[in-house]
Subunit: 337 residues, 2 copies
């Protein structure tokens, strides 16, 4: 598959290019970046300088030689990218979050629902082994009643902090929605959609550009409820990612490394099984490009796992949390596309 | 110190009597129970049959030979017990929760505020080594921003399930408030009072007589926020008790066994220290009776750690959670005494 890369930043070089090779035969044959010299540097790494460097996004979509476009632009460009893909009839995969606000996100869902062009949101957490395994195991614990999800870290200055659109985010929720949609993908792939939220937020670090600490209570469409904590701006702290799910007939707990399934009706009758996860599967980017390749080759959008509709929900849940926080934690319904 | 025990049930025999010996020189010299034969059986164990068995609570309070009364009646008797203690000028310690509803709890706080008679709520979690250690360590992590508190268990049928007042609880919150006030004591001794709550509840087991699963989001008076989960009615699950506190300059995490303090401004500059807790200190009942003895001997109510005012707050927070749950999770302020 021949791909044109639009937006040749850090993540394109560090994550997409290695995944193109591992996912199978994806060749970079075109590239565009607002700063052209960066695109030229990118094609050296990504295609030994063989790919064409274009002066506009439209030229990439018009290139009859490419099979699909990979979009990694700042998030407020995503709607425009989707429009161009549909107009050109060219399959598109673009990075999460789906959009910078709910209106743009809704339009993306509407447009992609009406079109047969395969359009996928690159939400790699939909493809993690841990996500797939939890989704399988949760069926074995009876009715799910409660979940506790937390991702916490101390503050680290990273290479991504230098990115202008992260420092002065145009998208709702900024730091929180950029990362939090991943976690919402994990939660909702396993437990289904979120109906309502109550949330509190704060900003601990100026460098994060926006609120960076979120604690939320989610009520799911299923009736189950639980906590979602996304907080990565503390002083010294352990880095945690844990997802505990409790049901009437057992529990499934991911502690960041492995998954423990416990089954049985109560504390007097329990059995347990531990599932170790392969470390190389954590990234999920390879799997998402395999999925995208399949959709492009079969020209069938129905095979796409991380659809715009799902990504809308991940983003809408984070947006609902920011709204609840502004309403002193009161209950806010998650918008539907 | 000579004590009269009013209400000679399981907890009096299993927890108070051993603590009387370990706390120092507390002798059971009087006892009362609605079913007199139970009181007679109790004094055999508690005093080798030496203590007097009375036919009424009033007779216990009138006994000039006793220094104080230990009350373990069903919770809806607590207000009456407090009135009798104040009328008799006899120090009283009685078991949590403070009362069966907020009105009775408020009256207890009002009456004890006006009286100099030492009156203490037996909230043993105020005396746990883990509580005291967390309270000390939390001062070292800068401004507290977030906490995550969870206590989860699979369902176990216990000897307490047979108790009539637990099966058909008269007190608000029933199962949840009976246990949850302990956890609120732990949280608030360490982090201060709760201002507002959002909560979801459910009942998984008929045997628990009332809601038995609670997930809440708490905003503290300090401005910090976090999650409080009390859920002990699942199918097979690990038993957990964990309390994570995150601040601008570090974190303190209790995992059920030990406490880890991490200090430093961010993820690049961290140091940590682990504090093991002595297992024998878990119960706290010995410490609370030492505290009560001191108050009785000095006739000074100001030395009491687990005051009615504190216990009111623990109970009022749980009550606020049950109210929020009935209001679809919307924000409810915690009542003040």
């Amino acid at each position: 598959m021949k791909i044109g890369v639009v937006g040749t930043g850090i993540f394109a070089t560090d994550a997409h290019v290695p995944a193109f090779e591992q996912a199978g035969n994806i060749q970079v044959t075109a590239a565009y970046n607002r700063t052209k010299s960066k695109a030229e540097k990118f094609v050296e790494v990504a295609s030994n300088g063989q790919a064409k460097v274009y002066d506009s996004i439209d030229e990439v979509f018009s290139d009859a030689n490419i099979d699909a476009v990979d979009g990694l632009l700042p998030v407020d460009n995503n709607l425009e990218l989707v429009k161009k893909a549909i107009a050109a009839g060219k399959p598109l995969a673009f990075e999460k979050p789906i959009a910078h606000d709910l209106d743009a996100a809704k339009k993306i869902v509407e447009l992609t629902n009406k079109s047969d062009v395969p359009i996928m949101v690159l939400e790699n957490w939909c493809f993690h082994e841990r996500t797939l395994k939890m989704k399988e195991l949760v069926k074995k614990i009876g009715k799910v009643e409660l979940f506790l999800y937390q991702t916490t870290k101390p503050f680290f200055i990273s290479k991504y902090h230098q990115t202008a659109w992260r420092q002065k985010p145009k998208h709702i929720g900024g730091f929180i929605s950029d990362g939090g949609v991943h976690d919402m993908a994990f939660i909702t792939e396993v437990l289904g959609d979120v109906a309502e939220v109550n949330a509190r937020t704060s900003q601990l670090r100026e460098q994060n550009g926006d609120i960076d600490t979120l604690n939320a209570q989610l009520r799911l469409e299923s009736g189950a409820f639980g906590s979602f904590t996304y907080a990565k701006a503390f002083g010294a702290a352990d880095s945690t990612l844990s997802f505990q799910i409790f049901g009437t007939e057992g529990s499934v707990v991911f502690d960041g490394n492995s998954i423990v399934l416990r089954t049985g009706p109560d504390g007097n009758d329990m059995s347990s099984e531990t599932f170790e996860l392969a470390p190389e599967s954590v990234n999920g980017v390879v799997s998402e490009f395999k999925n995208f390749t399949e959709a492009v080759k079969t020209n069938d959008k129905s095979v796409i796992v991380s659809t715009p509709a799902k990504s809308f929900h991940h983003f809408a849940t984070i947006v609902a949390c920011t709204e609840s926080s502004k309403k002193n934690g009161n209950t806010v319904q998650v918008s539907k596309a």
